[in-house]
């Protein structure tokens, strides 16, 4: 059985199993199968590395009748990153979300929802079919909304509902585009749409799908739902929501613009997308600067960090073909997606540890905690290095690639935003770091198991390692890269 | 025959349009619900006519509609009771209906 089928189905199989198991068997099964999925993700990446993109026509029916799945380097990398984050979150959640700490309801609910979220992510990463992507994204949204609501407080419920409204509106806009695409071309397959006979309605279809996906990716001005939702969820859930969920809708955007309908990319549209990204970088950073709670700072930082991803649209190309900087910008944005995922998950997990230790994540209460919990403080600082884009982290590689392509393309405003965003990130992350590493401890902390403390440290270290060993992911990301990402939109 | 069945379907739809006015006007919730019930029955009638007109398979749809209309009505009746879970025939809620382990008549039977 191929690794692709395993990463696609094992989260589902585990979710169904967990529903049938007694409470005490739950965690061991999830951890064991998480390890298996990480291995399968590695095997898939290896298969892609050696043999090029892996494809599968589900049910043996080729498009346009059936649904095609395809793992290219990008999908394999995202699957691997998600598997690592999921595995780490499962390890942290076994300490944090035990029934005696949070009650039987949350202790039960988190696990199947997390696994369904995982299944949805892998399904979206792999799918080549626009309607199948719709179903996958709906599964993702429902599981994510439920995770936001998990704590049950009025604030969390309001945040979940606001999220749900944006997610549903986004789904419907996307669906409208899918309807027009099938209505005009009789196919939903991304590969077949790339070779379609152009129709007048294509621009409308692409616009509707893009608008819907932007709402789900929380790009400015659709970002208002994200901070309360990500800050209101229990920390392990926040880690998943912030690190992974927006990447899925972003990936669909990439598939649409670079693979299905690259011929429709106009300079103005690309400019708008990147400009919204730039505003998100600045605005998210400024708002993160004025927050008083650690989880809110980290959540607003997600708004800012997601903004960088949209620089891919004008920079991964230009007016000619085969510009040397195209590779830089495309790969840079993907590095940003990967390193942000690892670092952001690490940050939310450290926030969870602090809340478990002192019952609060207010900056004032965090003073001096790095003395009592040194591993956690170190993990936060490492993750912060990645988010600020300092060498030698994965975030540095990402921003370096984006910045050099911006200069090479002569589009220096993006470089300016990259630099400004880095400064803002340094500023808003300085505040929690300064508090954590303050001289005297403010609050007495409950003891935290060392194994729990090690989890975010490993994730943060991975995000640094991504920069140190950037050659391997760099080459993996080039496999199966769509032609427009080489020649530019 | 085809023309006549079209006319019947159109007439039914027109009649349902009239019933919708009662849904709009109310004034009581029961008025609205009963008018909706008439719309449901009329819809079953339209589907029966369409079955003769287009495809007899539509009788299946008509049957499903009849069944589901009953469900909506039961849902409405439940919603009309004081705690939203009762039965209008229990003129007063059975003593201790708040407590599910208490002695509601239905509880004893089960």
């Amino acid at each position: 059985m191929s690794a692709l089928v395993v990463v696609l189905t094992l989260p589902l199989v585990t979710a169904l199993t967990v529903l049938l198991l007694p409470a005490r068997a739950r965690v061991p099964v999830v951890l064991a199968s998480s390890a298996l999925i990480v291995l399968a993700a590695g095997a898939l990446a290896l298969a892609v590395w050696h043999g090029g993109p892996v494809t599968l026509a589900v049910g043996g029916w080729a498009p346009p009748l059936g649904i095609a799945l395809r793992a290219d380097g990008l999908a394999a990398a995202l699957i691997m990153m998600s598997a690592l984050v999921m595995g780490a979150v499962a390890l942290a959640a076994q300490f944090e979300l035990t029934p005696d700490r949070v009650g039987a309801r949350m202790g039960f609910g988190f696990w199947p929802l997390m696994l369904l979220l995982w299944a949805a992510l892998n399904a979206v990463y792999l799918s080549r079919d626009l309607f199948n992507l719709y179903v996958g994204v709906e599964l993702l949204s429902l599981a994510a909304v439920a995770l936001v609501a998990l704590s049950g407080s009025a604030q969390a419920l309001a945040a979940a509902l606001r999220y749900m409204i944006f997610a549903l509106a986004g789904s419907l806009l996307y669906l409208a585009g899918v309807v027009l695409a099938y209505g005009a071309h009789g196919t939903l397959d991304i590969g077949l749409l790339a070779v379609r006979v152009p129709a007048h309605t294509d621009a409308l279809a692409l616009g509707l799908m893009t608008a819907g996906l932007l709402a789900k990716t929380a790009l400015f001005p659709f970002h208002v739902w994200l901070p309360p939702a990500h800050a209101g969820a229990p920390a392990p859930a926040s880690a998943l929501l912030s690190a992974l969920v927006p990447k899925a809708s972003f990936l669909i955007l990439i598939r649409l613009w670079f693979e299905a309908m690259p011929d429709l990319a106009s300079g103005a549209a690309l400019l708008v997308l990147a400009a919204l990204g730039a505003i998100a970088v600045i605005w998210g950073g400024v708002l993160a600067l004025v927050q008083k709670r650690l989880k809110l700072i980290v959540a607003y930082s997600t708004v800012a960090q997601l903004g960088y991803l949209f620089f891919i649209f004008p920079l991964a190309g230009g007016d000619g073909s085969a510009q040397p900087w195209a590779a830089g910008a495309w790969t840079g944005a993907m590095f940003q997606a990967l390193s942000h995922g690892l670092a952001k998950a690490a940050m939310f997990l450290t926030a969870g540890i602090y809340i478990a230790a002192i019952g609060s994540d207010r900056l004032g209460d965090l003073r001096g905690l790095a003395r009592t919990l040194p591993m956690t403080g170190f993990a936060f600082a490492l993750a912060a290095i990645t988010l600020m884009g300092l060498p030698p982290s994965g975030g540095f590689t990402a921003k370096y690639l984006l910045m050099t392509s911006a200069f090479a393309a002569g589009q220096w405003p993006w470089a300016l935003v990259l630099a400004g965003g880095g400064v803002l990130a340094a500023a808003y992350l300085y505040r929690p770091i300064a508090a954590l590493f303050a001289q005297r401890a403010q609050t007495a902390a409950r003891p935290i198991p060392r194994a729990w403390q090690a989890v975010p440290l490993v994730l943060a270290a991975l995000s640094i390692l991504l920069g140190l060993l950037s050659a391997i992911p760099f080459d993996l990301l080039q496999i199966g890269r769509p032609a427009p990402a080489q020649e530019g939109l | 025959m085809t023309v006549w069945l079209h006319i019947v379907a159109l007439g039914l739809l027109a009649s349902l349009g009239g019933a919708l006015w009662r849904v709009w006007r109310g004034p009581s919730q029961a008025d609205r619900m009963m008018a909706a019930q008439l719309v449901g029955t009329g819809g079953v009638g339209v589907l029966i006519v369409l079955a003769a007109l287009q495809d007899w398979g539509l009788l299946v749809v008509a049957l499903a509609l009849a069944l589901l209309a009953a469900l909506a009505a039961v849902g409405f009746i439940k919603a009309q009771t004081p705690d939203g879970a009762g039965d209008p025939e229990e003129t007063a809620p059975p003593s201790g209906w708040q407590n599910r382990r208490a002695t509601g008549q239905a509880d004893k039977r089960a």
Binding site: M1, T9, L12, V13, L56, A57, G59, G60, W61, P64, L65, G66, A104, G109, P112, L116, A120, D129, V135, L139, A146, G186 | H6, L13, A14, L20, V23, W24, A36, V39, G43, L47, L50, Q54, D55, G57, L58, V61, A64, L65, L67, L68, A69, A70, L71, A72, V74, G75, K78, D83, A85, D87, E89, W97, Q98, N99, R100, Q105, A106, A110
Partner: protein
């Protein structure tokens, strides 16, 4: 003549939708929404999409209606049943709505008529005669499998909305009814009919109108009537048989797909010779899960009425 019928039907659909959006009062909007689903089902019948008509009649007009009615009743008891109606026309919203409608209207006239996938020649290898069922259970089985998981995710999401203190209580509100009353008798009489009809729909769906989702919805509907009449008691979240019923559909579906992959045929590939029986087994299991899941989605999380305000 036929056009006149369609015009009248569409006018009713639009009028009812307008009343849902524009009318004051949430209860009235809910009732109009129920009739909307009904007219829409007739519309699908006119379009020749009988399977969709069946799904819309069962889900759109029936289950969604009950869901909204019950929610409105609960909100009313919390004094949240109504919000002050917005004053006048919201101009930005009207512009957005009109823009969207005009864009789609324009698109209709601009859409080319494409060549569509060749279902007819693949149908004999699919194992079933109803092309819609062939698409759902064979050609695009992965969609349908994910969709059954979506239902499960929604159910889990609804369950975790319970208050912590209610978590071990039976699901849904505490229904009660007058023993020997009209409601109880109805709740006893209807389920057998619905059971036969639901099973018929699943069985007939392979070659004719119907299918697992429609059959499951009908079963869920009569199940709900039985629950509301207090003829059947809702179980607790922890009840093993309940968990099994919710899981069996997706589980059998996945197992069939993985077995196919294990034997080298490829994930979810059904060999034509076996396809019919495999599809029937999957549909039977799916029907159970869909019926239970839909009914439980409607009654909501465990809610111990004794402690509710």
């Amino acid at each position: 003549m036929s056009l006149a019928l369609d015009l009248a039907l569409c006018a009713l659909i639009l009028g009812v939708a307008l009343a849902t959006v524009a009318g004051g009062g949430v209860f009235r909007a809910v009732i109009f929404f129920i009739t909307y689903g009904l007219f829409l089902a007739i519309g699908w019948a006119r379009l020749g999409a009988f399977d969709v008509a069946l799904a819309e009649a069962a889900i759109g007009a029936g289950l969604t209606g009950v869901l909204l009615l019950a929610a409105h009743a609960r909100l009313r008891r919390m004094q949240a049943g109504d919000a002050p109606p917005p004053a006048g026309l919201n101009l930005p919203a009207a512009l957005a709505g009109a823009g969207m409608a005009l864009a789609l209207g324009w698109a209709w006239f601009a859409l080319p008529v494409p060549a569509t996938p060749d279902i007819a020649s693949a149908l004999p290898r699919s194992g079933v005669g109803n092309p819609v069922t062939a698409v759902l259970l064979n050609f695009r089985a992965w969609d349908t499998l994910l969709e059954s998981i979506v239902l499960l995710a929604a159910l889990l999401g609804v369950w975790i909305l319970a208050r912590d203190g209610d978590w071990n209580a039976p699901l849904g509100p505490r229904y009660h009814a007058l023993s020997g009353g009209v409601l109880v008798n109805f709740g006893r009489f209807l389920p057998p009919i619905g059971l036969c009809f639901g099973v018929y729909l699943v069985w007939a769906g392979a070659d004719y109108i119907g299918g697992a989702f429609q059959g499951g919805t009908v079963l869920a509907a009569v199940g709900l009537v039985a629950l509301m009449a207090n003829v059947v008691r809702p179980p607790r979240v922890s009840y093993a048989l309940l968990r099994a019923a919710v899981v069996i559909g997706p589980a059998v579906f996945l197992l069939a797909g993985l077995l196919a992959a294990g034997f080298g045929a490829g994930f979810l590939t059904l060999p034509p010779a076996l396809a019919k029986s495999v599809i029937l087994v999957i549909e039977a299991a799916l029907t159970i899960s869909i019926a239970v899941t839909l009914a439980l989605l409607v009654i909501g999380p465990p809610d111990d009425a004794g402690r509710s305000s």
